[in-house]
Symmetry: C2
Subunit: 172 residues, 2 copies
DNA sequence: TCTTTTACGAAATATGTTTTCAATTTGTGT
DNA sequence: ACACAAATTGAAAACATATTTCGTAAAAGA
């Protein structure tokens, strides 16, 4: 959801940066700039969090109802190839896309109550994984650490849960 | 693949144990014992590793060609519910099932070259994750750590790769 | 502008999994 | 052993997510 209140909106400068970087990628690849792609990536980078194709499509259609989901899929693949965006799968069967990762290789905590996905990263953990790999005669290309559980702050959690439910009913 | 050479075969006692445990689960749930289910779980527990539905189905059909994949799926779900088996997904789009985990909550290293999946577990890592959760005000129910990369022993890796390719062509 | 290449949208297809449904099998009471 | 209700099966259809196809449209370069 694009935050219309401006409260939690993504800094327009950041969005611009990403747009420029993607334009560069498109050019380097000898691909073409199109209105649809521009729309999709602008909408995408204006969103926060771990966005499913479905969620993105809804917002994209708000901007231009004629854009189909094939184009959204195709553009997301390009975003992943450009390394501006990472694809994630948290086991609910859908791919999610993340374009505003603060830290390069971070991990996730997924609250099974309210659905909140938060990121963390820890240098010791990275070192630790390196050791483990060493011990096991393994060369790490990438890793994936996910902690599934619940927010300890139950109030905040319940609040998010309600918000999410309201959102699911189209309460916007 | 069921190891016919006996070299790396699962101890029949272990298989028996699992069969008994599953029978118990079936009874506790008020479900019925069937030949198909017995066949499927026997075949499954005679196999090692992280088994896909496809792989299991091939072996099951060897024992009884009339068993369909719906039944295999259904039985796997029961096995997961009984907690005798865990479902895993390593990002290649298929669910894999693991019935002989030595350690309760272990992690995985996935070689992207030869496809080998090995397990490891480390008490310090568990402690570490607990700390991380504490810092982030989070209660862990379960976790998932996967290291994707390559075997450092390239010879062994290449060997496994070839073996796998041969197997894929029906070389058995 | 003309031409070539690339991208688009809608629909078809692919893939992995789940569900439906009529027929069969199992467990239980007699 | 027999009948009955409930559960299970296999084949096919449905499902959900993702990808590909194909005719049309749009973009970049000559």
């Amino acid at each position: 959801m694009i935050d219309a209140s401006g409260k939690n909106a993504v800094d327009p400068k950041v969005i611009k940066e990403k747009e420029v970087a993607f334009a560069q990628f498109i050019q380097d690849r000898g691909l073409k700039t199109t209105k649809q792609r521009n729309t999709i990536i602008s909408v995408f980078f204006a969103m926060r969090g771990h966005i499913s194709v479905e969620e993105l499509l809804v917002e994209v259609k708000r901007a231009n109802p004629k854009i189909g989901y094939a184009t959204v899929y195709r553009t997301l693949h390009l975003l992943v190839e450009s390394e501006l965006v990472q694809e994630r799968r948290f086991g609910d069967g859908l791919a999610r896309y993340e374009g505003h990762s603060g830290v390069e290789h971070h991990n996730h905590m997924i609250c099974l109550e309210c659905g909140n996905i938060s990121e963390f990263s820890n240098p010791s953990l990275v070192k630790f994984q390196g050791q483990l790999a060493e011990e096991n005669n393994f060369k790490i290309y990438r890793h994936r650490l996910e902690l599934y559980g619940a927010c300890k702050d139950e109030k905040a959690c319940q609040l998010r849960k309600k918000k999410k439910a309201a959102h699911a009913h189209g309460g916007g």
